[in-house]
Point group: C2
Chain length 214, copies 2
Amino acid sequence: MSELSRTTDTPVATVKYYLRERLLPPGLRTSPNQAQYGDEHVRRIRLIRALLGPGGLDVATAREVIGAIDSDLPLPHVFGVAQRAASARIDEREVDAAALERADDLLGGFAIHQDNPGRTATAAVIRAIEGVGQRDADDWYRRYVEAALIVAEADLDMVEARATRDEKAETVVVGTALGDALFAALRRAAQEHVSTIRYEPERAEAIRRTRSSR
Amino acid sequence: MSELSRTTDTPVATVKYYLRERLLPPGLRTSPNQAQYGDEHVRRIRLIRALLGPGGLDVATAREVIGAIDSDLPLPHVFGVAQRAASARIDEREVDAAALERADDLLGGFAIHQDNPGRTATAAVIRAIEGVGQRDADDWYRRYVEAALIVAEADLDMVEARATRDEKAETVVVGTALGDALFAALRRAAQEHVSTIRYEPERAEAIRRTRSSR
């Protein structure tokens, strides 16, 4: 246990908490006070920290997606579990028929089921955005769809590149939970970048020159 | 107050909570038990609900971004406040020099400040993703950057289309907080769409035919 704690740079109390919450499988008990932990425990602790940290999942949701990795569920089901888990903060009661119709207009060309969590969430977000008076956002929405397709193709390519079912399942969970955080982070950097180029072209050029002379 | 509650479909107790938390400015007091509320209160309640709901902000953070809208801060500062607010779940202590270097490689062409919250968050997420063994993700990252640039251009275009400083500031806050949620939603729909086209082309074609015959 103390070695596992050192290797993963995670306090013993936190490791015990993960065990108690059934996020981490128990070690192989070798005596009443000793248990053996292996590489899969190290790997699992890093996954738990990634999901609870930048992934933004709560403990119950992390337990659910980890359960999906460890199960025999076929990949499309793992995708479904991961998608619903990372969409939890959308309150579906905030969705009405008019909002769903707006979402369907936007996703008109998509081959998806009616209960796709992204469809409902799209409707909830559009409703909120239009509720605050942002009503001429059609072009903004369309460009978001274009970007989402680029990212979805990248997500599926990364999963396909994995060799085994278990590696694929873990990539689905990591990619779904941390992909949102990655995109949000890149979007913030891209906003400043685009804004600098538009409104402070001299500064953008100066930064470019500093970099290429290094 | 009861009229405001009806118009916005928000319980009186919730409106009182928003007032108490200084999310909503007080009405014009006309008698000890009466206050007058205007269109700006209706609009503000919808904004609060959007930020606390699909926007995923907590009360303190919502108060901060609303304060930025109501202030005289120039727009780039409002962008900064909104960006930091909606990036709160990244723990910067999880970032080390190696992760920042990886982020800078990825964002190499970007004209941004060292303390851009997206740069730090990108480093934290890359660290988490590589910590769980996803080490050959360079192509995946690059395509996310491409998509983030499309979205950032769309974000700035929407802000530019607004006429006044206050409308621009509100669009910055709404776009930053709800844009993340919108993209995450669209990404989920796009994942199922791309997956159906790749692995169930007959079903994708059947859905297309059903739609065009309607």
